[in-house]
């Protein structure tokens, strides 16, 4: 018989959930960076989606409106894309967000050194620790990204309505918007996971001896 220690998935989910709840405000701040970055991403994507569909319906009136609002519409264009500058800003904002998450998660690992060491003394394997951190990050990431996508989407729709008036309501491409929201959410979860990877590995590699040391 192989002597194995186990941690059922449901139990690790429970532990991760409790850890988030216990440090609610800390998690909130970590999540907030994500909300902002994802909402910016969603806003940019959805704004382009709306402009695209306005262009696609072929109404000249819409074409003029778009040009007046600063879009570079050339005759014959059927789709618009983000300008290089816009793409650059989005990338940068996502990058800053990841750095912020790494920072917050590293702090959380340091704060929980003793807890992690104790768990290892009780028989936890390295991968239990990684799993708990990854699950926490996924939950935070999903919650944050969902909120961000909703916020960004709402902002994009509102801006479009204010800019172009209620005439655009029939041409709003709901399906594409939903897809863009999905992309933003996935990106957000991905960022959250990318941010937790290094801190989680640090946590998992910690020697249980550290838990015995008396310093606090």
């Amino acid at each position: 018989m192989r002597r194995l220690v186990v941690l059922p998935l449901q139990k690790s989910l429970e532990i991760a959930y409790k850890s988030i709840r216990a440090r609610f405000f800390r998690s909130l701040i970590t999540t907030l960076t994500l909300v902002l970055a994802v909402s910016f991403l969603a806003f940019s994507l959805i704004t382009i989606d709306i402009a695209d569909s306005m262009l696609a319906c072929g109404d000249l009136n819409f074409c003029h409106m778009l040009m007046r609002c600063g879009y570079d519409v050339l005759p014959g264009d059927i789709c618009l894309s983000a300008s290089p500058k816009q793409r650059w800003i989005i990338t940068l904002s996502l990058l800053v967000c990841v750095v912020g998450i790494i920072n917050a998660q590293l702090m959380s690992v340091t704060e929980r050194f003793r807890e992690i060491g104790t768990m290892k003394c009780l028989g936890a394997l390295d991968r239990f620790i990684v799993r708990i951190f990854v699950m926490e990050a996924t939950m935070q990431g999903f919650a944050g990204a969902l909120m961000g996508a909703l916020l960004g989407g709402a902002a994009a729709l509102l801006t479009a309505l204010i800019r172009f008036g209620s005439d655009i309501i029939p041409v709003i491409p709901w399906q594409t918007i939903l897809a863009s929201g999905g992309i933003a959410i996935l990106t957000g979860v991905g960022l959250s996971l990318a941010g937790v990877l290094y801190p989680a590995i640090i946590a998992a590699r910690m020697q249980p001896v550290e838990a015995m040391r008396v310093e606090q």
Partner: protein, 242 residues
């Protein structure tokens, strides 16, 4: 009944490489600890007491020499087996209690059982029984921050007993407690050791411990200074412990 050794330490040395200098903390230690005894490891700070203690607990590996727990050489174990050993064979008690702050008393006690694969209901039942045993009936829903130091240490004792280990390792278990609470914890450990036949090994400065110890191992300057049995002890330290 033949006397069985639960822990055997042979010619263990431990060096710490600090870059420029190498500190020899343990300089050749031989020890045998019998099953079911209550053993105290005593020694001044810096004597290598904690290092030896960590070796026995499988938390650290010796530079040379061998440590056997239940006749298994711990240097031969891989990460999985070591985790299993920590989970099933050894119960740890710390000076700073080290309960998981986000979990309730009961959850703290059941955590090692979860690692050991005990099904949820059985773990909860056993957890409650253990809490009752350590005198914390009705406090299972409390978080560590809602318990006093002595109560937290009681939860830690219950947690250490969760998987019916062969050894309980207690590192200065009374170090952060006042005199009376410390005595209560010592009495509790002694009771567990007698009732359940668990070997209790504790590293300590606390002379209150000597009263209940079957054997005291004095460590000095990285070597075993002397080993005293229970009957020699009362004569020698009677004056100090009162």
């Amino acid at each position: 009944m033949t006397k069985k050794q639960i822990v055997r330490v042979t010619e263990v040395t431990k060096d710490f490489d600090l870059g420029k200098i190498v500190v020899k903390v343990l300089k050749g230690i031989d020890l045998e600890i019998e099953t079911g005894k209550y053993v105290s490891i005593m020694g001044p700070s810096g004597s290598g007491k904690s290092t030896l203690f960590n070796m026995i607990g499988g938390l650290d590996k010796p530079t040379t020499g061998k440590v056997f727990i239940d006749e298994v050489d711990i240097a031969q174990l891989d990460a999985y087996e070591l985790a299993w050993l920590r989970c099933r064979k050894i119960g740890y008690i710390f000076q700073t209690f080290n309960l998981i702050p986000v979990m309730t008393a009961l959850e703290n006690v059941t955590l090692p059982m979860t690692f050991a694969g005990t099904p949820g209901d059985a773990a909860v039942e056993r957890g409650m029984a253990l809490l009752r045993q350590v005198g914390l009936d009705g406090r299972h829903g409390h978080k560590p921050s809602e318990l006093s130091g002595g109560q937290q240490q009681r939860v830690a004792v219950a947690r250490a007993l969760a998987n019916t280990p062969s050894i309980i390792l207690a590192d200065e278990p009374t170090g952060n407690l006042d005199l009376k609470t410390g005595e209560e914890i010592i009495a509790l450990l002694k009771e567990m050791s007698e009732k359940q036949g668990v070997t209790v090994i504790s590293a300590t400065h606390d002379y209150k411990m000597l009263n209940v110890s079957d054997q005291v191992i004095w460590i000095r300057d990285g070597r075993v200074d002397k080993i005293q049995e229970r009957d020699e002890l009362t004569i020698n330290t009677g004056g100090m412990s009162s």
